[in-house]
């Protein structure tokens, strides 16, 4: 098994920023998998009742968790946008090098804009009840 030939690996390719976008998709995916556990825990707290929920909110409001939640929000937005880019590729569209670079830049810009929109929604937007 160990004698089998290996396909060319990262080291032989010239660095392109699209490579960073590609690995970021995986890293954000793994981070969001961890976030899934917190999401399930949050739902369980809500299912438990107002007292458990208040405790959960208190934990999520600590500086450490605020930072984590911000990171997860950013990771989610990026994974969402870049995931759409992947789906277009899977449909056979936008695979040319130039198009792939442009869509990559578009994903980064969209991520930053949507993150700003999210921060506005969290801190400034009016809320409905129920």
């Amino acid at each position: 098994m160990n004698q089998r030939p290996l396909s060319p690996h990262l080291g032989v390719y010239k660095f392109m920023y699209t490579m960073t976008l590609s690995i970021l998709h995986r890293i954000t995916g793994v981070a969001l998998s961890v976030g899934l556990l917190v999401f399930a825990w949050w739902l369980m707290a809500l299912a438990h009742g107002p007292h458990a929920y208040a405790n959960a909110v208190e934990v999520l409001r600590t500086g450490f968790f605020k930072l984590l939640l911000g990171g997860w929000a950013l990771a989610f937005i990026y994974h969402f946008c870049n995931g759409l880019r992947h789906l277009f590729w899977d449909a056979g569209a936008g695979l040319e090098r130039k198009q792939a670079r442009r869509s990559g830049a578009l994903v980064v810009i969209a991520t930053l804009l949507l993150f700003a929109l999210l921060l506005w929604a969290v801190y400034c937007a009016p809320k409905v009840s129920g």
Binding site: R26, L36, L43, L46
Partner: protein, 125 residues
């Protein structure tokens, strides 16, 4: 006796022995997650998440409960498939790989069961 040739039996199944099933499931769940996650994020942002009664009213609506249930199931499955690829690609050594794959599968199962139970409990409270 099968009339299929040995080559015909293995073609398209790849080293994992399941063909493109994993790849397809990852895409199908991704497509489903586009509207489901958008619905949840927008719904959450429109409300005051620190108020349990507001969350309760939102998620105990039958349509919300249905969407939330679809979301957590799809999310857990998509996450499980993704982590599997990540572990298969970057963890070398059969023991470590198998252990981590098992750990990931069990953790995802636990998260899915907890989330499904929670959504139902919220809906029926």
């Amino acid at each position: 006796m099968s009339l299929r040739t040995p080559l015909g039996k293995v073609l398209g199944h790849g080293p994992a022995g399941e063909g493109v099933g994993h790849w397809w499931q990852q895409r199908v769940t991704a497509i489903a997650l586009v509207p489901l996650s958008l619905w949840f994020v927008i719904g959450l942002l429109r409300r005051n998440a620190s108020k349990p009664e507001d969350m309760q009213v939102w998620l105990s609506d039958p349509w919300s409960a249905l969407l939330a249930l679809s979301l957590v199931v799809t999310l857990a499955w998509h996450s499980k498939l993704g982590m599997q690829v990540f572990i298969e690609d970057y963890v070398h050594g059969k023991g470590a790989k198998t252990t981590l794959l098992l750990l990931s599968t069990f953790t995802h199962a636990a998260a899915a069961v907890a989330a499904i139970f929670a959504v139902l409990r919220i809906a029926f409270t």
